[in-house]
Amino acid sequence: MAAVSTTPRQKLGWGAANIVVIALALIPVLWMVSLSFKTPAAILDPSFIPAQWTWSNYHEILSTTTFTRPLLNSIGIGLIATFISVVLASMAAYAIARLRFPGKALLVGMALLIAMFPIIALVTPLFAIERAVGLFNTWLGLIIPYVAFGLPLGIYTLSAFFREIPWELEKAAKVDGATPFQAFVRVIAPLAAPGMVTTAILVFLACWNEFLLAISLTSTTAARTAPASLAFLSGSSQFTVPTGPIAAAAVVITIPIIIFVLFFQRRIVAGLTSGAVKG
């Protein structure tokens, strides 16, 4: 990639730039980790590194259902919504990338419109509708909108991936007597698996991060997700500011992301850029 020759001095410059980037990216995260290990007394000490380390904040949040139940909700709702989005988006993206049918432009336009949609515009009607049909404060009540907002992301990312899959293989399968549906399941789907994994990661990250719908469409820990629960954590007594526990909870919901990023960074980068650059 970087074929333009560089002098040692330039190398040093870019190296320094690297360190600055890494520091800027990680310091706010390390600050949260530090806060989560501070004792209640030390919270009021602004130093970056805790004078005394304690696990008590983690113990506190992980021993009550106020946080553990939302954590479970987040994982469950996120996984189910991701699975459904990726399945539906794969079908649509396959059709967009491979088939000729009228209405394709309309579908692409609709997905684009939804990707740009201000979620706040949906909060009231969804709140009213879900209360009327009994979906308010249930897993399904969050899964359905999460699937809808995962779909545009999924359709764009996947149709970009699907266009890279060689046509000939599908044709060969059809020549061998496979129906278009068989060609999809037997030939294209295995080739598309990497793109689908990438899409699943991006959709899951979006669900995991979602806050506005999560606080608006839930009222108890029955369906409240982890990010929403942060706003409802209280200290060990009513008068303690729950800084330590909130920091610990923030770290707990950040850990899966860090692991995701470490394992799947290539896929995440490929997914983020595949849809956008070709536009």
Binding site: I22, P46, I114, M116, V123, L151, L205, T273
Partner: protein, 315 residues
């Protein structure tokens, strides 16, 4: 990536004549049916969650509808819009939102470009930089916002203590600056990665040729890199602008919209969940929707951004 698109487009004309016959062959009809069948579930979900509720929101916005006064529901036409548009709170919130959007997007663009260049040029440790940069992108916005909130709380935050125990979140413009800072930190990696992908489409030969011709690094950047990256930059800007305009999470945590820091989304949420006024809240929601459409239209028509996905339609 470019080569692939070319092979696909050169492949298409060969098949086209067969398909332009007026009578659809059995295969073409089956293909059409399968296309609709495969898209149907996605379309149904998107319509159910977005189209129907938006129409319902429009309907709600035309009524006097307060959950505390359920018996006083009444059709009032455009009165809610009149009330919102003549309210200083709406214009204040719109001003704050526009301010946050303009500053965060423009600074993110510059920093994102620098980040992209750093990631592109680095010969060693590229993976480390990219991994580190992905952390802010992936982190839950609310979790990050709590980090910033505590960092700027006097007496307990490292940033506050560095700046002489200042309490920026208690005054309007300083609080907005903190919100913008949080937004920039969170979104620069996304911008950087999109721009990096655009950067790798700039042919290296062109850079070399310009270098041979005596162009400085600065000249090469402005005359070659930027013009060739224009489509990638505009798409990234469109996404970021719309995202920033919808800002909610970090303001909700950092200030709850106090001290004149309400964005339009926060204002809408307040009217819905604190004032329980579905009529006014829906009117605000619809106005935000209109703003978003205007922003998208300006980008797509004004700057000539190809709407993402139009290349799909062309095929």
């Amino acid at each position: 990536m470019t080569t692939n698109t070319q092979t696909v487009t050169t492949g298409a004309p060969a098949e086209a004549p067969a398909r332009r016959r007026p009578q659809l062959s059995e295969g073409a009809r089956a293909e059409r049916r399968l296309g609709w069948l495969l898209c149907a579930p996605a379309v149904i979900v998107m319509l159910a969650v977005c189209a129907y509720p938006v129409i319902y929101a429009v309907w709600l916005s035309l009524q006097r509808y307060n959950l505390e006064l359920p018996n006083a529901v009444k059709f009032v036409g455009l009165a809610n819009y009149g009330a919102v548009l003549s309210s200083p709170y709406w214009w204040q919130a719109l001003w704050v939102t526009v301010l946050i959007t303009i500053f965060s997007v423009s600074i993110t663009l510059v920093l994102g470009m620098i980040l992209a260049l750093v990631m592109y040029r680095t010969l060693f440790g590229r993976g480390t930089v990219r991994t580190a940069a992905l952390v802010p992108y992936g982190i839950v916005t609310v979790a990050a916002a709590y980090g910033w909130l505590y960092a700027w709380t006097p007496g307990q935050g490292y940033l506050s203590s560095i700046f002489n125990d200042s309490a920026p979140l208690t005054s309007q413009y300083k609080a907005i600056a903190v919100i913008i800072l949080a937004e920039i930190w969170k979104t620069t990696p996304f911008m950087g990665l999109l721009l990096l992908a655009g950067l790798s489409l700039v042919p290296e030969d062109l850079q070399k040729a310009a270098k041979v011709d005596g162009a400085t690094g600065w000249q090469r950047f402005w005359r070659i890199t930027v013009p060739l990256m224009k489509p990638a930059i505009l798409v990234a800007l469109l996404f970021r602008t719309l995202d920033s305009f919808r800002i909610f999470d970090s303001i909700f945590i950092l200030t709850q919209g106090n001290n004149g820091t309400e964005s339009v989304s926060i204002l809408g949420w307040d009217n819905l969940f604190n004032a329980l006024n579905l009529g006014i809240g829906s009117a605000i929601a619809i106005l935000i929707f209109i703003c978003v459409v205007i922003i998208a239209a300006v980008f797509i028509k004004g700057f000539g951004t190809a709407a993402p996905g139009t290349d799909i339609e062309r095929r």
